[in-house]
Amino acid sequence: MIKTFIKTAFFAAALMGGSAAIAKAPLQLDSDIFVERQETRADGKKAVVLAQPTTVLPGDNLVFVVKYKNVGDSPASDFSVTNPMPRAVRYAGSSDGQEVVSVDGGKSWGNLATTKVTNADGTQRAANFADVTHIKWILKQTLAPGEGGKLIFRGVVK
């Protein structure tokens, strides 16, 4: 009976603190998308700014920001961040260039520069941004508790 009571109390706590329960996952992830806008300043100079995606039209340049943080109390290691490209977005490169890409739906991975795509006639050609279906960062370093970072890449709305 006491045992049961304790269990119940534990579940109640878990339910009440819904967000707290999620935060208990040792690694926190956050994905944000911004739109690049050209703005003309008061002095007439044009500047590129990042804005919330209020209106997003074909051809717009998007900036994806993936934030990660170890909120647990143990170091995390061997972690990899995988981001499939949304169907309507063409990949346009990352900020650090450390990612590997897949052009076959995540089956095989490699550097874009050395990745080949097989044409319908069996010949091969070098892959380009438009072929990328997935991108992945394999992060070698250990992430100590409280540590985090962000990964940034670009895309264009098809």
């Binding site: 998308i33 804005a51 209020t54 039209l57 994806f64 990899s80 490169g93």
Partner: protein, 346 residues
Amino acid sequence: MTSKLKYLVASGVISAAMMSASSAFAAGTLQGTDIDNTVSVDYQVGGVAQTQETATDSFKVDRKVIFTVAEATPTGTTNVVPGQTAAVTTFTVTNTSNDTLDFSLAGTQLAGGAAEHGGTDNFDITGLQVFVDSNGNGTYDAGTDTATSIDDLAPDASVEVFIVGDIDISQSNGDIAGVTLTATALNDDGSAITASTDTDANTTGVETVFADTGRDGIEAAGDDYTVGAADLTVTKLSRVVSDGVSGSNPKALPGAVVEYCIVVSNAAGASTATNVAVSDDIGAIGNVTFDGTFTPVMNGTVVTGDTCTPGTDNATYNGGTDTVSGTLNDIAAGETRTLVFRVTID
């Protein structure tokens, strides 16, 4: 919220990405399409693989209203003749929006000023009407192409639109009538489009942005009609062929043979003249008699000084009326045709 992250990626990489652009639609991703970006992370703690974490960010692709109105190829003025009915100029409306749109159409006339293909507008066509090429054959078919607005033009689709009108019989060579076709984008139910004025981060609804020239959902193109009337001039040449006395330089003595040449010329840039009938009353010349030994000929094209090279087609002499006559072949712009006959001096 805005922030500056313009040095994220070297610009060389961006332009390379642009060059390799190859989406299925030139118009781009259709409006209302969700872009869901899901990222996942795999990791280990203490050497033990942990449950994968994921995060998602979503928004909808908004509606970009962009289209063009252009004169259909081949471009250039539309040549018309006085009295022509249903003279047609053709335009192409192309929808490069990422949504299906309707368009209302309006045809207007220039009131003077420079016409599309040079020259100055100086008259209006009558009975101007606008029709859509409903059967898609690129040619105006009266009674078939009856729609006066464009219904449901899909992304990347285009349709031809005709301005049709009549040319008054009083117009003359070189007159120009300029016309303009204006298309206004509408929702696919025919209602007016309202552009979004919302500045909030609306990631769940579809908003509309005008991306056409002027950002107003209205596009226009001009074309013009140029009247090409025939512009004929007639001259009558004569030369003494022989006088029965002189070996050379024959004089117009009694009994001398005189050749008359009627020269009909059509001015450069004019329309081809057809059914040009020429007749000359020899009795009206006076003191000459038709020379029956020389059959009148016509359709010569070469005139050198006062000498016409006779054509090869026969003209007609009517002894009853003492008249030479004939109907010349068609005379195109810049061309000349002649009718030659001979008389003797009484």
